[in-house]
C-alpha cells in the first residue's frame, strides 16, 4: 500500500508539473492546425448605395464559420476591388477587426465591380471571400427625405393660400418693429444734414434669402432717397449683387419719377475679398461722411469693424442680418437692429407686396406647427416613444 501510495504521489506530482507544458503543447498544435487549414469563406455582398447621386457601392461581409475565438484573432480586413473577378484585384483599403461594412465611392455608374475581402491575424490569411458584381447608379429621388417634401408641400400650399388672399385685398397685420419704423426717420435725417446714405448689402450672394430681403429694403430706401433729393451709395462685394442693386435703385428712382437722378457710379463693385472690402467701405464712411448707414444682408467677421467705424463717424446705423453670430456686434454698436427673421418681416412690411406678406403669414403658421411638434415630441420622448423624434432624422 505504501509503495502504491508513493507511486500515486509521484505520478500526481509529475502530472501537475507537466500540466503547463501540456496546455502549451495544445496551443502550439492548435496554431499549427490553423496554418494547415485553408482560409474560411467570407460571404461578401455588394449593393448600390441607396438615395445617392451615384458612384458609390456598399460592401458588406460576414464569416459564418468563424467562432468568437477566431473572430477575436483577426486584426485587419484587407479590401480589394476589380472590374473582373478573374483578373487581379487592386487593394483599396484596410479596415480594423470587427468591421462588417465598407462604403466605396468615386466609382463609375453602370460598371460592374467585384470586391475581395481577406481577414488577417498578424501574418496569416484566416478568411477570404469575393462578392459582386455591384453596379453603382444614382437615384432621382431621396426617399429618406420624404418628411422634407411633406413639409415643403405643406408650407408652399399655406403660403400660396395666403398670397392669394393678400392679392384679393385681405390686409395682414404685421407687428411694428422699431428698426422698420426708423428707416424713414434715418432717410429724413440724411436729407436734413445734406449728407448721403450708405447702404451695405453684405457679403452674401444674390440667391441668399437675407440678400433678397436686402434688395427689397434697398428699393424702399432708394425710392425715399429719390423723393427727398438725396443720394444713396451702395458699395458691393459680389458682382451679381451689384447688378441687382443697380436694377433696384434705378427702378426706385424711375418709380419716384426721377430717373435722371440715378447715377450708376453710386452703386459699384469694390472687391470680392472680405477685409479689403471692409477697409474700402470704412474709407467711404470716413471720407463721404454718410448721415445714415444701412447694413442689410449676410455679414461675417467684418460686421463689428464696419459698425464701429460708422459709430466713430457719427452716422445713425440700422442693421439687419440673419447671421446669428454677428447680431450681437450690431446690437452693441448700431441704433436699430433687425434680428434674423425681422429682416424678412421688414422686407414684407416695407414693400407691402402680397407675395411677401402672404409668405410672412405662412411662416408664422409654420412656427405654430413647430411649437406643436416640439410639445408633442417632448411628451413622446419623456414617455420613451423615440420613434417620433426619429422621424426628423432625414439623413
Amino acid at each position: 500500500m505504501k509503495k502504491s501510495g508513493f507511486k500515486f504521489l509521484v505520478v500526481l506530482a509529475v502530472s501537475i508539473w507537466l500540466t503547463p507544458f501540456a496546455s502549451f503543447a495544445e496551443v502550439i498544435s492548435a496554431d499549427s492546425a490553423f496554418q494547415s487549414f485553408p482560409p474560411m469563406p467570407i460571404i461578401v455582398t455588394v449593393s448600390d448605395m441607396p438615395n445617392d447621386p451615384g458612384g458609390a457601392l456598399i460592401v458588406e461581409w460576414s464569416i459564418p464559420d468563424a467562432d468568437s475565438l477566431t473572430l477575436a484573432s483577426m486584426n485587419v480586413y484587407q479590401i480589394s476591388r476589380s472590374s473582373n473577378p478573374d483578373s487581379e484585384f487592386e487593394s483599396i483599403t484596410s479596415l480594423v477587426a470587427g468591421s462588417t461594412r465598407y462604403e466605396d465611392s468615386g466609382l463609375e455608374d453602370g460598371k460592374n465591380y467585384y470586391y475581395r475581402i481577406i481577414a488577417f491575424d498578424n501574418d496569416n490569411r484566416l478568411a477570404e471571400g469575393t462578392g459582386g458584381p455591384g453596379v453603382p447608379s444614382g437615384q432621382w429621388f431621396n426617399t429618406g427625405r420624404i418628411p422634407i417634401l411633406i413639409m415643403v408641400v405643406l408650407f408652399a400650399t399655406t403660403a400660396i393660400g395666403f398670397i392669394v388672399s393678400a392679392k384679393k385685398g385681405y390686409k395682414f397685420y404685421v407687428r411694428p418693429i422699431a428698426g422698420i419704423r426708423a428707416v424713414d426717420d434715418a432717410i429724413g435725417r440724411a436729407t436734413e444734414m445734406g449728407r448721403p446714405i450708405l447702404y451695405v448689402p453684405g457679403l452674401g450672394t444674390a440667391s441668399e434669402v437675407a440678400t433678397i430681403a436686402a434688395f427689397t429694403i434697398l428699393g424702399r430706401v432708394a425710392r425715399k432717397v429719390a423723393e427727398y433729393n438725396t443720394r444713396v451709395i451702395v458699395p458691393n462685394y459680389d458682382p451679381v449683387v451689384m447688378a441687382v442693386c443697380q436694377e433696384v435703385v434705378k427702378g426706385a428712382y424711375t418709380a419716384a419719377g426721377k430717373p435722371d437722378m440715378y447715377d450708376a457710379n453710386d452703386v459699384y463693385f469694390v472687391t470680392q475679398d472680405q477685409f479689403p472690402y471692409t477697409a474700402a467701405v470704412n474709407g467711404v464712411m470716413l471720407r463721404q461722411k454718410p448721415a445714415t448707414n444701412f447694413y442689410m444682408g449676410m455679414f461675417y467677421a467684418e460686421s463689428l469693424v464696419l459698425a464701429e467705424t460708422g459709430f466713430i463717424s457719427g452716422s445713425i446705423q440700422i442693421a439687419g442680418t440673419d447671421q446669428l453670430v454677428q447680431i450681437p456686434f450690431f446690437v452693441s454698436v448700431c441704433d436699430f437692429v433687425l434680428m434674423g427673421e425681422e429682416l424678412y418681416a421688414a422686407s414684407a412690411y416695407l414693400s407691402q407686396e402680397p407675395q411677401q406678406l402672404g409668405t410672412l403669414k405662412a411662416q408664422d403658421w409654420g412656427k405654430v406647427l413647430v411649437v406643436v411638434l416640439i410639445i408633442v415630441g417632448m411628451i413622446f420622448s419623456t414617455f420613451g416613444w423615440e420613434s417620433f423624434a426619429a422621424w426628423f432624422d432625414v439623413g
Binding site: R145, P147, I148, M151, V152, F172, Y173, V174, R175, T205, A206, S207, E208, V209, V240, A243, V244, Q246, E247, T271, Q272, D273, F275, P276, Y277, A279, A280, N282, G283, L286, R287, L324, I327, P328, F329, V331, S332, M339, G340, L360, K361, D364, K367, V370, V371, L373, I374, I375, G377, M378, F380, S381, T382, F383, G384, F388, A389, F392, D393, V394
Partner: protein, 212 residues
C-alpha cells in the same frame, strides 16, 4: 522656414507685411494717407487676385475644359454668363436680367430643402430627442424647450405681442440676448487671439531685424 534661415527676400516681404499692418493699425488714430494707401493697395491686389482665381477655377475648369472635352451642354451656363456682359450697353442691358433671374431662382430653389434640413429638421430632432427627467440633464432639457418655444414666439409677426403672448415673447427676447451675450464673448476672444497673433508677428520681425 525659421527666422534664422531668413534671406534678403524674407526680410523685404516680411517688412512690407509689417509696414502694411502698421498702416492699417494707424486707422485707430484717424483716417490718414498711410491707411488710404494700405486700403487701396489691399483692395486692388484682392481684386486682381480674385479675377485670376475665378478665371482658373471657374472659366477654365467649368467652361473651357468641359467644352474642349465635348461636353457641349456647358454652353448654356456659358451663354448665361456672357449675357451678363450686356450690362455694358444701355440698349441691351435688359438681357442680363434673364441671367440674374436664372441665378437667383436656382439658388433659392436649391436652398429651400437645405434650409429645411439644416434649420428645421436637425434643430427639431436635437430639441425633442431627449426626455425630461428628474435630474440635472432633465432640467437642462426642460430649459432648452422653454427657451426654444419662447424665442419662437418672439418671432411671431402677424399677432400683437400682448397678454400671455407678450409675456412669453419677453422671455424669448431675454433668451435671445443671453445667447447673443455668450456669442459676443466667444467671438471677442477669437478676435483678441487674432490681434495677439499679429502683435507677435510684429515683435518677431523687430527682434529678427534688430536682435533682442
Amino acid at each position: 522656414m525659421t527666422p534664422q534661415e531668413w534671406g534678403l527676400y524674407e526680410y523685404i516681404f516680411n517688412g512690407v507685411a509689417a509696414l502694411l499692418t502698421l498702416c492699417i493699425f494707424s486707422f485707430l488714430y484717424k483716417d490718414n494717407p498711410f491707411y488710404k494707401f494700405a486700403e487701396r493697395l489691399v483692395a486692388g491686389v484682392a481684386t486682381g487676385y480674385f479675377t485670376m482665381l475665378l478665371f482658373w477655377t471657374n472659366f477654365m475648369d467649368k467652361v473651357y475644359d468641359p467644352l474642349k472635352a465635348g461636353q457641349w451642354w456647358y454652353i448654356f451656363p456659358a451663354v448665361l454668363g456672357v449675357m451678363m456682359w450686356t450690362r455694358f450697353s444701355k440698349k441691351w442691358a435688359w438681357v442680363s436680367r434673364y441671367s440674374i433671374a436664372f441665378y437667383i431662382g436656382i439658388g433659392s430653389g436649391v436652398s429651400i430643402t437645405v434650409y429645411l434640413y439644416t434649420y428645421l429638421f436637425k434643430q427639431l430632432q436635437a430639441t425633442i430627442g431627449f426626455p425630461i427627467t428628474m435630474d440635472i440633464a432633465g432640467l437642462n432639457q426642460f430649459l432648452v424647450i422653454i427657451a426654444v418655444l419662447s424665442a419662437l414666439v418672439y418671432f411671431f409677426f402677424s399677432t400683437p405681442h400682448k397678454g400671455a403672448l407678450g409675456f412669453v415673447s419677453k422671455i424669448g427676447i431675454y433668451v435671445i440676448m443671453i445667447c447673443f451675450g455668450a456669442g459676443f464673448g466667444l467671438t471677442v476672444m477669437g478676435r483678441v487671439a487674432l490681434l495677439v497673433n499679429r502683435v507677435i508677428f510684429l515683435k518677431g520681425y523687430l527682434i529678427q531685424l534688430f536682435g533682442g
